[in-house]
Structures are given as C-alpha cells and as structure tokens.
C-alpha cells in the first residue's frame, strides 16, 4: 500500500479513541475511613486444567495437581492466619476435581469467583454463554454463593448480563477502573499485572515460553520486587492486586515468603485486605461511572 499519512493517522486516531472510550479511569480512589491502601490477594486455582488445555505432558499436569492436593490448602491457611480475605478465581470444572478445597475456601470466608469453565473462552457466542453459565452454576452449587467476579476474557456484556460486578484482568491502570464495551454495557475492572504474578517468576515454560526465556528465580528476589510495589502503592494511597497460583505459591518456600510479606505489610497502618468483591462493592458505591449506560 502506498504511503498515505492521513489514512494512517485516521486509523490510529480511531484506535486510540476506541481505547479511551473503552477505559474510564477513576482518577483518585478513596477507600473506607482509615484505609490508605487496598491489597487484593488473588489466587487462580486452575491446578492442572490449563496444562491439560494446552495439551502438556503428564509431569506438567502433576505439577499443576500440586495446587489442588496441597497448595490451595496452604494458601487458605495462610490467608486465614493473617485475616486476609482472598479471592480464589476458580474454573468451574475445578468443582468436580477439588470440591472439598472450594468448599473450604468459601467456609473460611474467602471469595470464590469465576475463572472460566475450563480456562478458556469459546469463540462461538452460544458456547461461551453455555460455559459461563455452567461455571457460574458449578461455583454457586459448590461454594454456596453465586460468584460476582471473574478473571477471564469473557465478553463484558455477557458478564454484566449474568450479574457479574467486576472482572480482574489486564493492567490498563494501577487501580480499579470502568470498562465500557461501546454497546452500553460497563463493568468494573480490578487490574493485576503480570509483574505481580508468581507464575512469571517461578513457573517453568509458563504460557508456552521457550527454554531460553525462562526466568525462574528465588523468593528473596521476588519479595524485594513486590515489596517495592507495595511501598509505592502505599505512598500513593492506591491499590495492589497480587496474583498467585496454588500450584506455584503453595510450595513451602513460597508460603513462608508470603507469610513474611503479609506480616510486613500489616505493620503499616491503614492497609486493607478485603476480597475483590469488597473492593468492587466499595468502588461501585462511591465511584460510579460518570458515563451514561444501561447499568
């Protein structure tokens, strides 16, 4: 195609405008009285499901299985010990694999939220609806409460229609923001960043990465990085979402490191450890979207 500056600019302007229309940032989040920083501990409880979906080897599945047999129990115990209300993003099918663990998380008062039916979102709209419906029903049945949050690539309008209050996905802003689909639907997003995700530092071949791209490292280094993230957000008075995986962070050395990290965070006044739902309900009530929409 011959060079056409105006055409290129028009195309890029439209893309940037679409992005801006999609993301409605909340300039200054205020938290409940006395709270300076909200920290969400989130755990993606996919165990071996994603490994299976990616058709990985038996040993990769076994590595994931650790999360269901051992890791999830240790995380629940760790969060309970520190009075941290965590959010466990759980694929619907995990209810058939590890129902006891899902029930235990709910019994401890943690939020059990959606993480897709089998860790994928089908392209076909009807099948997508079927999957999210199945996941929602399975989680409701097992955890005893209908999920209001998701960490997924599900269609915003579908999530809103099924009563979801938020999605926790992507890193378009440091803190909660509103997402709009351009069709009048909106949903709150509680962003997390891959740099605050245990799998990025500890899980070999994460998301199909090559051997030369491995960055597996030790807990001392990761805790130093995450402490800096905490310090920064604490100073700013913001939000921090820490993404864990039971098959990764459930390993004894990492539970010990997280135990120290949480203890250190708790030494600071004004740190709030609610579930994602807790954050979402607060933001929805106090920082509603200022744009028109059906919701």
């Amino acid at each position: 195609m011959p060079f056409d500056a105006e055409r290129d600019l028009a195309e890029l302007r439209a893309a940037a405008a679409e992005s801006d229309a999609h993301h409605e940032l909340i300039p200054r989040i205020t938290w409940p009285e006395g709270v300076r920083l909200a920290v969400n501990f989130t755990a993606d409880f996919d165990a071996m499901l994603l490994r299976r979906l990616m058709n990985e080897t038996p040993m990769q599945l076994a590595k994931g299985e650790f999360g269901g047999r051992v890791g999830i129990w240790r995380l629940i115990e760790l969060f309970d010990h520190h009075n941290v209300t965590a959010t466990i993003f759980t694929p619907g099918r995990i209810c058939e694999l590890y129902p006891e663990a899902v029930r235990a998380a709910a019994r401890s008062g943690h939020e059990v939220a959606d993480h897709m039916w089998e860790h994928r979102v089908p392209k076909e709209p009807e099948l997508e609806r079927d999957h999210l419906t199945r996941a929602t029903e399975a989680l409701t049945r097992t955890a005893g409460r209908r999920p209001v949050g998701s960490r997924s690539w599900h269609t915003l309008g579908l999530m809103a229609e099924l009563g979801y209050l938020y999605n926790s996905h992507g890193s378009a802003a440091h803190g909660p923001f509103w997402e709009h689909d351009g069709k009048g639907n909106r949903l709150l997003n509680l962003p997390f960043h891959y740099a605050i995700d245990d799998a990025m530092f500890y899980s070999f071949a994460w998301l199909g990465s090559e051997n030369s791209a491995q960055r597996i490292t030790d807990t001392d280094r990761v805790m130093d990085l995450w402490w800096d993230a905490f310090e920064r957000q604490y100073r700013e008075g913001g939000y921090l979402n820490i993404c864990l995986h039971p098959f990764v962070s459930g390993r004894a050395l990492r539970i010990a490191a997280l135990d120290r990290l949480i203890a250190r965070m708790k030494e600071r006044p004004g740190v709030w450890f609610p579930s994602c739902e807790g954050v979402a309900r607060h933001v929805i009530a106090t920082h509603p979207s200022t744009r028109m929409g059906v919701h």
Binding site: T57, M59, E65, Y98, A101, W117, N211, I216, D218, D220
Partner: protein, 312 residues
C-alpha cells in the same frame, strides 16, 4: 468416564503436616539425588554427548569432587544412573555403591520414552534393569526420569505405560513426581488401587536449571538463586516436618564455586537437629510401610462428568 483420568494421578487431598512422622522421631527427611546423565537431547546419552569436555568432567574430576564432599560431610545420596553409563564405567558405579550410596535406574540411556510403544519401552526398561543389577550387584528399586536441560518442560518425560511397566517390573518407587512435596501414590488403575510410590521432585531444587541454563556457554548462571531455593525450602519443610530433596549433577554442581555453595548448604542443613538423610530407597521403604496405599490412599469417588462442548 473413569476417575479424573488424564487430570489427576493421586487422591484429592495430600497429607497434612501433622500426619507425617519420620523414623526415630526425626524432624525431616532430606534426600540428595545425583544424576549421572549428560544427555543433551530426547535421544538420551549419545556418542557425541560423551565426547564433550563437560562429560569428561562429569565422570572424573566433577564426580570425584562431589563424592569427596559427600564423604567428608557424611551424606548419603541416590545416584540416578543411565544403564549405559553403568555398562561403560562399572568400576566407578561399584565404587559409588561401596560408599553407601544407592544406585537407581535412569533409563537405558536417559531417553525420552513418551513416544515409544509399550513393547519397546518394556524392552529398554528390562535391559536397563538387568545391566544395573549386574553392575551394582543388586536389582535397582528406584527409577528416575529426570528432565534434560533441553527438554520443553522441566519435569521429566514418561509415556502412558511407564508407571504400569515399573509396577510390573517390581520397582518400589518412581523418583521424580511433581504432584506433592512428600512421597505420594501415583495411581494407574483406580478400581484396582494399582499404584506406585512417587518421590517428590521440583525443578527449583535441581542444579540443571540454574547452572548455565539452558546451554553451557550462553546460558544463565544463577547458582545463588538455587542456593536460596534450597535454603528456603529446607527451612520451610523443616518447620513443617516434611521432606526435602535436591538434584545435582557432577558437571553442574561439581564445578568450583558451585561445589563451594553445595557444601555450604548441606553443612548448614546438617547443623539442624533431627535431619534424616536416607537414600531414596530407604525413604520409599519406610513410606510404603508407614503410609501404605491400602491405609492412606483416599480416592474420592468421581463426580467428574462429560460435558458437551468441553474437554473430556
């Protein structure tokens, strides 16, 4: 649909810390595995692999240094030995066994068996077992399938038949299971409760992935991270009273500063009271009796269903 097959290999909930006890009131079980493979590809050890400087180091200078460290520090280890290495260097293997270390099997040539048919895998396993029995003077009771540095994944490769063949061949344990951090039962048949004991393995405690990984010369050198992983895991598992394991290779950990680091770690480990340092075979023998599959394997009846439009 059979029991969660294709997803899980064992029961739904692992043993809690309080349920675990070691012989004579010991606090933790710590095993050291020395991998004597220098394989660089799924083929397993090739003629070219044996001609590299690293291979020469692995079977002479590096191994001498590591054995001397183990002896001086009074540690016992399990050597995962590819049968071809035992056949080529029988004196070396016998000398290792004479020091009180265990000789376990590590494939015929540490090959990737995942694509083999059952008959060929069995033929290779039988031959490997026979060679190791002849060289070491007793039949190996443990079988390893440790990862190679060039593997796509860091867990080792097996075929759908491996565990069943190991049970058939009378092996007491499989050396590198990733589903728990203590010994656990790898179930091959839910209805019959057919299972083999798997000993824990995790690549964060294996020097392969921290010493010039993924390739000698251009790889990343992070033995300090490995040291911190060993230290953190050992201390955490010590507090819990569970199990600690490490996997080392003479060509990696045997080199100079890394051997220094290895000695620093194991000396520290030994300064803790109540550390039980058996061979993997002794650990497996204890576990199979104290936590037999008949008494401790709790397989929940499957509530797994097939759903239209989903993975089966």
């Amino acid at each position: 649909m059979p029991w969660k097959q294709g997803y899980t290999i064992s029961d739904e909930i692992g043993l809690r810390d309080g349920e675990i006890a070691w012989p004579e009131g010991k606090r933790i079980c710590a095993t050291i595995v020395v991998d004597l493979s220098v394989a660089l590809s799924p083929e397993g050890i090739t003629a070219a692999d044996l001609k590299t400087p690293a291979a020469s180091f692995a079977y002479h200078d590096g191994l001498d240094g590591l054995l001397a460290s183990l002896k001086r520090l009074r540690l016992r280890a399990t050597f995962a030995v590819p049968a071809v290495i035992a056949a080529i260097r029988p004196e070396r293997i016998r000398a290792i066994a004479a020091e009180g270390h265990e000789i376990a099997a590590h494939g015929f040539r540490h090959e990737d068996v995942s694509g083999l048919d059952r008959a060929e895998e069995k033929a290779r396993m039988d031959r490997a077992t026979a060679i190791l029995e002849e060289v070491a003077g007793q039949r190996p009771v443990g079988w390893y399938s440790l990862p190679r540095q060039t593997d796509r994944f860091a867990g080792g490769t097996i075929s759908p038949h491996t565990m069943d063949l190991l049970i058939e061949a009378g092996y007491a344990y499989f050396g590198n299971g990733l589903a728990d951090d203590i010994p656990h039962w790898w179930v091959t048949d839910f209805a019959a409760r057919r299972a083999i004991l798997a000993l824990p393995y995790y690549y964060h405690f294996d020097d392969s992935f921290f010493c010039m990984f993924p390739r000698k010369g251009t790889g990343l050198e992070h033995p300090d991270s490995l040291f911190r992983n060993w230290r953190a895991e050992f201390e955490a598992q010590y507090r819990r009273g569970r199990h600690f394991h490490m996997v080392v290779h003479p060509q990696h950990v045997g080199w100079c500063h890394r051997l220094e680091m290895f000695e620093r770690f194991v000396s520290r480990m030994q300064s803790f009271p109540g550390v039980w340092n058996p061979t993997a075979a002794e650990c497996a023998a204890y576990w199979s009796k104290a936590y037999s599959k008949e008494t401790h394997l709790k397989l929940a009846p499957s509530i797994w269903q097939d759903h239209e439009g989903s993975l089966s």
